[in-house]
Symmetry: C2
Subunit: 274 residues, 2 copies
């Protein structure tokens, strides 16, 4: 809750960091990735290239700038920054956060590989939220003017972008329903299931999740308080549904977890209306 002096060009800082880093020893991920194109990307089916043919893919590659790498806590962009590019997460994870004038923040989402961020900035050419890396994270940068150009030439890309943006809208809607209708325990259950499912799409382990965000982040995202989240983890572990150890959470009883997502009326008949 301190400095929110808008820096219009975070890019410069990132560039500096990138240069420093390349002078450092072992950083094999970076080097590999720089050579890769959308056509060879493991994420292609989740990402913009989905359903686009080979020739058009090459065209798309011209609109993708070199990947950027962020360390934990680095900002991809800050609230108020001028808009230049959309970003696709390549590896790692980020959170997007809006901060109100009063100083309190709301986390809008956690973003895993293959997911697009920055769409909110299209409305008025400024980022309305900040994007911050939760761990070492690399992203593909899509400078928007170039992307637009390619889209006019490749209609299927235009269609695909709309689809991806729509996914973003849907995710926000689900978040909204959670905030409006769900009880605390349901929220956490939904969050964990959704995370597990998204891990699954990335062909990761869907049972043992490694949370890259803090309890504070989880609580904030769920519209709760950190103490409540902590208590819920404890309770769900006691119920045998989860095994919790710090950042590592294992889903021991997926069916029970799923049951906790609905309005878990363990006695009432009619669902609460509110």
């Amino acid at each position: 809750m301190v400095d929110l002096l808008f820096r219009s060009l975070d890019h410069t800082h990132a560039a500096e960091r990138a240069m420093k880093r390349s002078a450092l020893p072992f950083d094999p991920i970076d080097l590999h990735q720089l050579k890769r194109s959308c056509g060879h990307c493991a994420l292609s089916e989740l990402c913009l290239p989905a359903g686009i043919n080979q020739a058009d893919l090459e065209r798309l590659d011209t609109a993708v700038r070199d990947k950027r790498v962020l360390e934990r806590g680095d900002h991809l962009y800050r609230q108020g920054d001028a808009f230049h590019s959309l970003y696709v997460v390549r590896s790692g994870s980020l959170k997007t956060v809006v901060e109100s004038d009063e100083g309190d923040a709301q986390i809008l989402g956690f973003h895993l590989p293959g997911e697009l961020i920055g769409v909110d900035a299209l409305a008025n050419d400024h980022h309305l939220c900040a994007a911050e890396a939760l761990e070492r994270t690399s992203v593909c940068e899509l400078p928007y003017t170039q992307l637009q150009q390619v889209m006019t030439e490749v209609p299927s890309l235009q269609r695909q972008l709309m689809r991806v943006v729509s996914r973003e809208v849907v995710a926000e809607q689900r978040h909204l329903v959670m905030m409006g209708r769900q009880q605390a325990q349901e929220r956490l259950a939904i969050f964990l299931r959704s995370l597990s499912e998204r891990y699954g799409r990335l062909s990761r382990d869907t049972v043992t999740l490694t949370l890259t965000m803090s309890r504070y982040d989880i609580a904030n995202y769920l519209g709760l308080v950190v103490e409540t989240v902590s208590r819920l983890f404890t309770r769900m572990e006691a119920a045998g549904v989860l095994a919790v150890s710090r950042k590592t959470v294992s889903i021991l009883k997926p069916d029970l977890l799923a049951a906790m997502c609905g309005t878990q009326d363990s006695g009432k008949k009619e669902p609460t209306r509110r």
Copy 2:
């Protein structure tokens, strides 16, 4: 909380209604509007045509099907319906609602003239929420395949559509922040101010608002219960901020209302974290 039998084609019903209606006496609005094109529409600056030149506007018109008119309570589409078109509200207002398996609903938004709805359906070709008219409402239908075609020919339209979609994302984000961080009174204050501001953009009275939605709808939208909303109206009227009479709400002290939007700490120093 009753019938959610998905009808894949609500269009047919609307068509029937339209025919019936045209046989009825006085309905001058309809007749006028049918003649109008995007180029002459009073909403053009708020809507898709914004920033598009005359020649391209004519092209856009080819992608806009005849307007549809809905009566209060009519559905523009239902949850689960197959996706065909986006819609722009022309006059009147609608609400979009998701209903969970458990039967309880969450209102995602209220939609005024110039606003686009249906974007969430692009993700998987099915509407994930229902859109229901709150009063007699007319919309412009944009069949998506045609819209796509025109967009490939008119890049500025493509850009503009992304901008409008982005506005939708931003609105959802604001809703989310409200649900996550704001107290009950702040939520209502924010809601009223936002409504007033949107009325202003439509050059309507920003002081005396005519609410087209019920208290239940407002409460649901705000993640509250109808009793709470009712009490808040009473309290804000007692405080001299509002004059409330059924569906008509006048903002007597806009500055006070604005002050109620922030975390109104009438004593505390640090803003609550949560």
